[in-house]
Symmetry: D2
Subunit: 350 residues, 4 copies
């Protein structure tokens, strides 16, 4: 077995969709069958979202996407007003993006490590594995610690994850080691980021440490209901919405649910007008992650005119779909929604 | 298309594992190959958890399990000291179990509905679909409303989901329409239930309505960091643990993470000693839900001696695994951990 | 790494469904959701096939089923008139069943071997791996050789695979080392077995060696068109048919196609009246193995009244489905079709 | 429901990889994770096959690939000496490619048809469905008939599928309606095509009709052992081989097996030196289609230095992998093997 330095030598490099134009290829897929056709249609629906000036676009992230080399795709979406809000697992935002923002990197694992037989050794070396990717666990602890530092500096009250992540953006603006960070770019572009299960990541460790240290004294808490309330406010303020989902899980369910939440608040919000989901999850286990967008329409959450599931692992489909939309250029004529500005007063009103 | 009453006529019936003894069948699978062998080994590991008097058992639920007919399996686990804590998606606990506790039911959908072409009609009829299962949306709104009533009755402060779900148990103890409820049984047996993404379910709707109504006044909030803190306290108080996971998602990640959280709090908690996961998720998308238990061991979360993944949709595997352990009878000699009692003082100390 | 003897020490044991009655369990699954419900319905459809005195039942086998511990299930089906013809991959029939008939066994592989990192070592030791199962390659060569011996003893002409497999049955009747063989039981019960891609297995090696040795002289050849012709004759002679498919591949396609072939021969054969398929293949790749039975009905091959797909790996589903039908006992009143007797004259007429 | 003409109005269009250069995109995927990295490595291995002047390249096709819009990719591979032999399911070669060679087309199905609820109507309209693709069944019968005409014109003896498919190529050279046909291009470039389960397709219908009409008289038969013998001869004549597999099934198994077959004929053939497989099949069912290339190495069939599985539906991965290799241009310096010329004398010697 190699030593730690040798194991962590080959960095994951993030793909830059601004440099590759897959639009003609994707267009040629439109009249094929199976995933190619579905992907071309999904790319077209995302392009429609961008052309629809009224549409607010919500990007949902589940699965290890940032660590897999897709970070710059999301950064470019944020920078080029191709997305108005992000709903994500904590891992993508904190453990992976904020982590890289602090100057750390992800590394490529060998086939042998991927097979899982050396995980005991990795543990001893403080190397964590995500399938074929490696992380320096000691660096990850520094990331945990940083979230505690941020929590320690905040006034003690319940926060939405969005508010906390905005503080992380401010931290990176000052202390960050790279410009290419989703958290930083979103901070600068007033794109709110929500992690509805926020304690379920590196930030959770920081917050547990914060709360433990505070003991009976006032402390920061993470109000997941406030997350839901805030995202629902955005839906109410901007009724036409499109959702672009990578993976399923909590981000998918949470984002679909705001249509119902708006109704519960007495507002007549329309279903999500556009919806794309990229996933390999199999519908036959009946779980939410794999459930079709048609099924979501029975719940009154997603309209069925412009919806498309794409059966592909995300690292293949995302460069093609987002690359297509980027090079079609609709974003050039699109005005950023700057939804953080909508929320800041709304938040205070709560 | 049938009318609503006709659509909602055939109820889902929950399987009763106390009446079927699959132990000899499962034992015969031990020397086969593929999923049969894996399932037999998983059943054996769960049986070992029950025989290990020091082991605290955490059941993780993701996917539509309660609505699929597995509710009574979980109720029987709780009643027969076969589980000490539950970590779940909100859907299983609130939308499905608490919902049935209020006297409502789930219904079987026809093949035609399952194909997804009549979802627009279902929406108009206020019928929600989960794959091949139907729900009366009007009844679900009553469930949302009930969670608001519970929130309205609580002192305004941050709550862990566990605390809130305990209040739901108290509500069912008084107002419930059936004894067969996971929330009720867990309330009575002092088995804590955590939903780390608690706003992402029917209770989220109730809480959003509660917070909206309260406006600037003091209100109930849901502190997801407190969830993490509490479950970590249990790990610290009871270092030997086994996790029995159905599906992946937040419950899996959250529960695995408490080993690290304990370490961050300065406690030297061992990895989860036993781990079983039943899932059909494919490892090749690199996501947490499908990640192997070996991978979790690189993170220092799960030991590799007694771990087993089972590739099966849960409705097939769970009656066999839990039925095996039930009929082997190790629970008869097991003392319930009654972890709620551990938490109640701990919680107040936070 | 262990030596060969140590590696090949733990034998695969075949499950005996006559000793376990899963019927009450399967019945309890009927009103659940997802795979449990589908499996219960599939079991019911298979039971209907057995109760329908006119129905000829064709079992289709693809995937490593015999080596996985399901051999005795198929033997019991043959012995108890629960199947009238078998269409299979060559591997199940020759490399696995005939192989065990010669006295050889399959062995359980460790987790470590299953991970694939020691396959080079296995190769050096002449040990072949099927996922978590091991085979002694030297024994497999003896199996190849035996098929050559059988070929050498036959009159040189084109044979259907069924004719050749019948000769293998005769060989086992004389030289076999165990009674529990699908090939032997089928030989004794006049159940024809077809392997439409017969050269694609151990027998292919024997036949290649046979043909090579014969050079320009007359030799045995394997006429795959004759297979198709024969199975079609059975469909014409016995129009009501049910198909019970494990996995997909050539056996599925071939058996579905005989409806069309009958029509091409000018006979008005009805679609397969009953159809069950157990598979984990995902429909989204558009391949035949995963294609729904509804899709097959567009081709006029399968009727849609009694059809059911079951999403489960076969080692879990087959003991439940066949066990259910066995213990329901419809086979006791069923008359074996003894289709080999239909074919022997038909064959000679070709 | 639309009428037949309306249903069959939107044709599948085959992607032209010579017009899209994905090489920079694929190169950017090399340092990502998951499928992107695997795909980039697979593309690199295929490029290595093309650069290795000694390497004979065998393309294996399973699944509905030609009808899905990949036909021209395979045609371009044949025309540009990027492949030396093809091993395929009959469906790709006869029902789809030869069918289009006769002037017929495949059509796009709507979402509604894809859901499977109108398959009964499709049957009545003589429209066959492959997932999201439609075929005019009456045209398919003309394709069946044509294979009978070809069989009727041949001398009565056992044929390998390769010999028969070569006759189909000759037929298209004279009667074909389009130049873009794999069968025709392979005929012209002396690239042999094998369908080891040849009766399992449209040609099977033609051959059954031929044999039925001939009755006791001499007739054409399809010798699947001869297929195996011929492909093994190629391996012996050209020991260095690479296999590029789309899907699994019989083509995969058959092609891997020739290494063993050569050994049985007393020749010391090396394992396949290069191997790529694109598939979404899940390894956990233990079947051959999903089995890893590492597993194949335990059987002595595939070397492990240059092997790569790619988890992707083929319509997405193939344009990227083959497009990459095409635009890298190694084929320009490659000499076609023209393996048909190797076989023609070999065949006569058998």
């Amino acid at each position: 077995m190699a030593d730690k330095k040798e194991l962590l030598s080959q960095t994951i490099e993030h793909i830059d969709i601004t440099r590759h134009n897959p639009a003609p290829l994707v267009e040629a897929m439109r009249n094929m069958a199976f995933s190619a056709r579905d992907l071309a249609r999904a790319a077209d629906i995302y392009d429609r979202m961008l052309r629809d000036q009224e549409c607010g676009i919500i990007l949902c992230l589940a699965g290890s996407l940032v660590s897999a080399g897709l970070k710059k795709v999301f950064v470019d979406m944020v920078r080029n007003q191709m997305v108005d809000a992000i709903v994500s697992t904590g891992a993508n935002i904190v453990d992976q993006d904020f982590f890289e923002g602090l100057g750390f990197r992800h590394y490529m694992a060998t086939e042998r490590l991927k097979a899982g037989l050396d995980d005991d050794t990795l543990r001893e070396l403080h190397v964590d594995r995500i399938y074929d990717t490696l992380i320096d666990e000691d660096e990850l602890r520094l990331c945990d610690d940083t979230t505690k530092i941020i929590a320690d500096g905040l006034a003690p009250r319940p926060y939405s994850s969005r508010e906390f992540i905005r503080e992380m953006g401010a931290y990176l603006a000052e202390h960050g080691k790279t410009r290419d960070s989703v958290v930083l770019a979103a901070y600068e572009a007033d794109v709110p980021i929500f992690c509805p299960a926020f304690s379920d990541c590196s930030a959770g460790f920081g917050l547990v440490a914060h709360q433990h240290e505070r003991g009976d004294r006032p402390k920061v808490s993470l109000d997941s209901a406030k997350d839901f309330y805030e995202l629902t406010q955005l839906k109410i303020a901007n009724p036409t919405t499109g959702i672009f989902m990578l993976g399923g899980g909590v981000p998918k369910n949470f984002t679909q649910d705001i249509v119902v939440a708006a109704e519960i608040l007495g507002e007549d919000a329309p279903m999500h007008k556009y919806a794309v989901q990229v996933t390999v999850a199999d519908v036959r286990d009946g779980a939410l992650s794999s459930s079709t967008l048609k099924e979501a329409s029975s719940w009154g959450k997603v309209d069925t005119v412009y919806e498309q599931m794409v059966f592909s692992e995300a690292t293949l489909a995302v460069p093609l779909i987002v690359g297509y939309a980027y090079h079609k250029g609709a974003w050039k004529n699109r005005t950023a929604k700057r939804w953080t500005r909508v929320l800041e007063p709304a938040t205070q009103a709560v």
